[in-house]
Amino acid sequence: MREWARVLEALLFAASEPMEPSRLTTLLRDGPDGGQGWPEIKEEELREELAQLSERLAPRGLILREVAGGFRIGTAPDLSGWVAKLKGVVRPPRLSPPSLETMAVIAYRQPISRAEIEAVRGVDCSGTLDTLVERGIIRISGRSEAPGRPILYGTTPLFLEHFGLRDLDELPNSEELRRVKLPVPADPAGPQQKELLHEAVEPAS
C-alpha cells in the first residue's frame, strides 16, 4: 500500500460527488494548503491504487464505482435493504418503461427536440419529459435552429450516476444507435399530416 493511499481513501470518502482521476492526481500532487504533496504521482499509479482500493473494499460492504467520469465509494448492492431501512428511504422509484424509452432516445441522440423523440416513439412524450426533468436526469440544453426554435433536451451528470455509467460512450450499442437515421417528425400543424389522415380513413369506408 502506497504512502498516499490513506489520503486517497479519505478524499474518496469525503467527496460528495464522483472524483475524476485527474482531479485526485492534482490534489495528491499539490498537497493541502501549506502542506506537502507527492509531486511525482502519475495518473497510472493512481489508477492502480484505485484498483487495489476497490479490491480492499470488496469484502467490506463497500464498493468503488466509476461513474460520471469519476470514482465514488458506495454501499454494496446486496446490502441495499439494510441501508434503505437505516435511512427510512422508500427506494427512489425506478423509471417507468415509457420514461426509460424517452430516456434512451435522448441519451443516444442528444440534443433532441420533443417532436423528434415522439417521431421515434410514436406517442406523446410530454409527461415522461416532465418526469425526467423533474428528477434532474435530463435538462433543457438549448434551442434548435429549426422552425419554431423548439427546446432541445440532453442528459445531466446525474443521468450517468443514476444508470452507473462512466460516460456516454459506455451506453450499450452506442455506435450504432447514434448513427441510426431517425424518422422525421411530422409537423402537427402542417398540411401533409392532415392529408395522410384523410387518405387513411377514406379507403376504409
Binding site: 469525503a14 425506478r94 406517442v123 443514476h162 387513411a200 379507403p203
Partner: protein
C-alpha cells in the same frame, strides 16, 4: 393486471393495452406473437390483430390513447392500399417507395431504442441499490458546517461583497452606463439557468458592469426566491452560496406584474438603492 416486467420477457400471453408504451410497442409484440419477420410483415393479419386488441380495450371501457387510433388508421390505409392492383394506384404512389416500408423502418428503429431502454433499466435496477454517503462535515477541530438554507443575512452579506467588487471594477474604468429593469433581469436569470440547474451566487453577477445592474439583478433574484422559482442554499455557514432553479420544465408562470411597479433603476446615480443600503 399483468405486471409490465413480465412483458419485458415477451412471454406474457394476456397483456393489457395499457402495458404497452405505445402503438409501436404493441405492433412489435404482435409481430413477435405471430412469429412474423419484421421485414416481411403480413399487413392483413397484423391489422386484424391490432384492431381486435383495440376492440377488447373498448369492451373493457378502458380509454384508448389517441396514438393507438392514429396507428389503426394508418394500418387500415396501408392494408387497403396493398390490396389495390398496381395500375389503380395514384401515379405519385407508384413512383414512391411502398409506404409500408416507412412503417417497417420506424418499427426497426423503435425496436433498437426499446432494447436500449431495457438495458438501461437493468443498469438502473443494479445501481439504484448502491447508496453513496451523505456529505460529511470536515473532521477538523474548527470545521463546522450546519446544513441548510441561506438566511437573508448571508445573502445580503454576499451581495455587499459583490457590490464592492463591482465598485472596484467601475473605479478601474471598465464601466458601462446602461439601464435595466427588474423585469429584464428576471428574464435574464430565467434564461441563464435551466430548471434544476445550480450556479454559484457570484456567477450570476459576473457580467454586471455597474452598481445599478448588480442591485437590479439582486432584486430580481430576491423576487424569484419569493416566487419559489429559485432557492438559495449552502452546505454550511460560510460555504459558498448556491442558487438553484426549481426543477420545472416550463418557463412561463412568472407573474408579469413583477416587472411592473418596480421602478427602473438607473445604471449609475445617487441613492438608487435606499432599501438595500439599510441592510
Amino acid at each position: 393486471m399483468i405486471p409490465m416486467l413480465e412483458l419485458r420477457g415477451g412471454e406474457a400471453l394476456r397483456v393489457e393495452l395499457s402495458a404497452f408504451t405505445g402503438p409501436l410497442d404493441l405492433l412489435l409484440h404482435l409481430i413477435k406473437e405471430q412469429e412474423m419477420d419484421i421485414y416481411d410483415i403480413r399487413l392483413e393479419k397484423l391489422t386484424e390483430q391490432y384492431l381486435s386488441r383495440l376492440d377488447k380495450m373498448r369492451e373493457e371501457n378502458l380509454s384508448v390513447a389517441g396514438e393507438f387510433l392514429v396507428m389503426a388508421a394508418t394500418l387500415v390505409y396501408l392494408k387497403s392500399r396493398s390490396l389495390l392492383p398496381v395500375q389503380d394506384r395514384l401515379p405519385e404512389d407508384v413512383e414512391d417507395e411502398d409506404p409500408k416500408w416507412e412503417l417497417i423502418r420506424q418499427l426497426i428503429e423503435y425496436r433498437k431504442f426499446k432494447e436500449a431502454a431495457g438495458q438501461l433499466g437493468d443498469r438502473e435496477a443494479l445501481h439504484s441499490r448502491i447508496f453513496g454517503r451523505t456529505p460529511e462535515r470536515v473532521v477538523a477541530p474548527a470545521a463546522l458546517q450546519g446544513p441548510g438554507q441561506v438566511s437573508m443575512f448571508d445573502l445580503v452579506w454576499a451581495f455587499q461583497k459583490i457590490l464592492r467588487n463591482v465598485e472596484d471594477r467601475a473605479r478601474a474604468g471598465r464601466f458601462q452606463d446602461e439601464e435595466f429593469t427588474v423585469g429584464q433581469k428576471i428574464e435574464f436569470l430565467l434564461n441563464r439557468m435551466t430548471p434544476g440547474e445550480e450556479v454559484l451566487f457570484e456567477d450570476l453577477f459576473r457580467t454586471a458592469s455597474s452598481r445599478g445592474e448588480v442591485v437590479v439583478t439582486f432584486l430580481a433574484l430576491l423576487e424569484l426566491i419569493r416566487l419559489q422559482q429559485l432557492a438559495a442554499w449552502q452546505e454550511g455557514p460560510l460555504m459558498p452560496i448556491r442558487i438553484r432553479r426549481a426543477p420545472e420544465p416550463v418557463l412561463e408562470n412568472i407573474p408579469l406584474s413583477v416587472s411592473e411597479g418596480v421602478p427602473q433603476i438607473p445604471g449609475e446615480g445617487a441613492g438608487q438603492s435606499p432599501d438595500l443600503s439599510a441592510v
